[in-house]
């Protein structure tokens, strides 16, 4: 499947200003629209032109990939992280009824590069920001070649 987002030239000009905006509690998750943006963006490396305020970042260093996702108001025991091949899914299930109006559960998926050591994936939730650390498998790590 291939989805191509229509870019309104006017809204592109306004993007800088439209970006002053963060997604709400309910909109941060479960947006398929955004999931496709993300998956497609990684596959093609194009600028996504999304103005709706995506709440996920992906980084790497020599040893790991890191995904950062905003989950305001969600407790750590309510979060579930899973990795299926290169699809990272982050779900939450609210335990209390207190926040029923904000949705009881939701999930968000993003594509991460291949070559992750799935056994060693870890996640940390701090101040409403979830950081998932995905260690690179040995074979994809950069290797220093000694010149003899």
């Amino acid at each position: 499947m291939k989805l191509i987002r229509y870019n309104d030239p006017l809204s592109t000009q306004l993007r800088t200003f439209e970006n002053w905006y963060t997604p709400s509690l309910s909109r941060a998750f479960g947006s398929f629209d955004r999931f496709f943006d993300l998956a497609q963006g990684l596959a093609t490396g194009n600028d996504l032109g999304d103005q709706s305020g995506i709440a996920a970042d992906l980084y790497e260093d020599d040893d790991n990939y890191y995904a950062r996702i905003e989950m305001p108001g969600v407790k750590k025991q309510e979060v579930e992280v899973s990795l299926d091949e290169s699809l990272l899914t982050i779900g939450y299930q609210r335990k209390s009824d207190e926040h029923a109006d904000q949705g009881l559960s939701g999930h968000r998926s993003l594509t991460v590069p291949e070559g992750v050591d799935a056994e060693k994936v870890s996640a940390k939730l701090e101040d409403g920001v979830l950081t998932v650390t995905l260690p690179k498998a040995e074979q994809v790590k950069p290797r220093q070649i000694k010149v003899k």
């Binding site: 200003f17 002053w20 963060t22 996504l48 980084y59 905003e70 108001g73």
Partner: protein, 128 residues
């Protein structure tokens, strides 16, 4: 179109007012519970010591500074979060009791309780 233009100039002005840095307006919800307003504001990435709440006349201002900076050595592959600091300014249309305002920050959500002042509460008039 006029709506967009209006919106744009409002945002420009907002940005111009802050000399130190740029802000995003956080999402919030407000509910009235008994004699107080409960306002929850989403500020992921903000720690308690970096949150300030102030009330000046009828303008309630929340500023939250993010502390989830990207560690050194992390190279972005895909960056889409808006990581500016947060500022929310709310004009209260009731008389708030400044002493009674409380703010709590948990898991990136600020819960503000803003009670109405005694004077603003509806009074029951006894009919003689």
């Amino acid at each position: 179109m006029s709506e967009i233009t209006k919106n744009l100039s409002a945002k420009k002005q907002d940005v111009a007012e802050s000399s130190r840095s740029l802000f995003v307006k956080p999402n919030y919800e407000s509910n009235r519970v008994d004699d107080e307003w409960q306002i929850s504001v989403s500020m992921p990435g903000v720690k308690r010591e970096h949150l300030s709440v102030s009330l000046e006349k009828d303008e309630l201002t929340l500023v939250g500074r993010r502390s989830d900076a990207v560690p050194e050595g992390w190279r972005p592959l895909y960056e889409a979060r808006v990581r500016a600091d947060y500022r929310l300014r709310l004009q209260l249309n009731f008389d708030a009791d400044p002493e009674g305002i409380t703010a709590q920050l948990e898991d990136g959500v600020v819960t503000l309780r803003v009670p109405e002042s005694e004077a603003a509460k509806p009074r029951k008039i006894e009919v003689k």
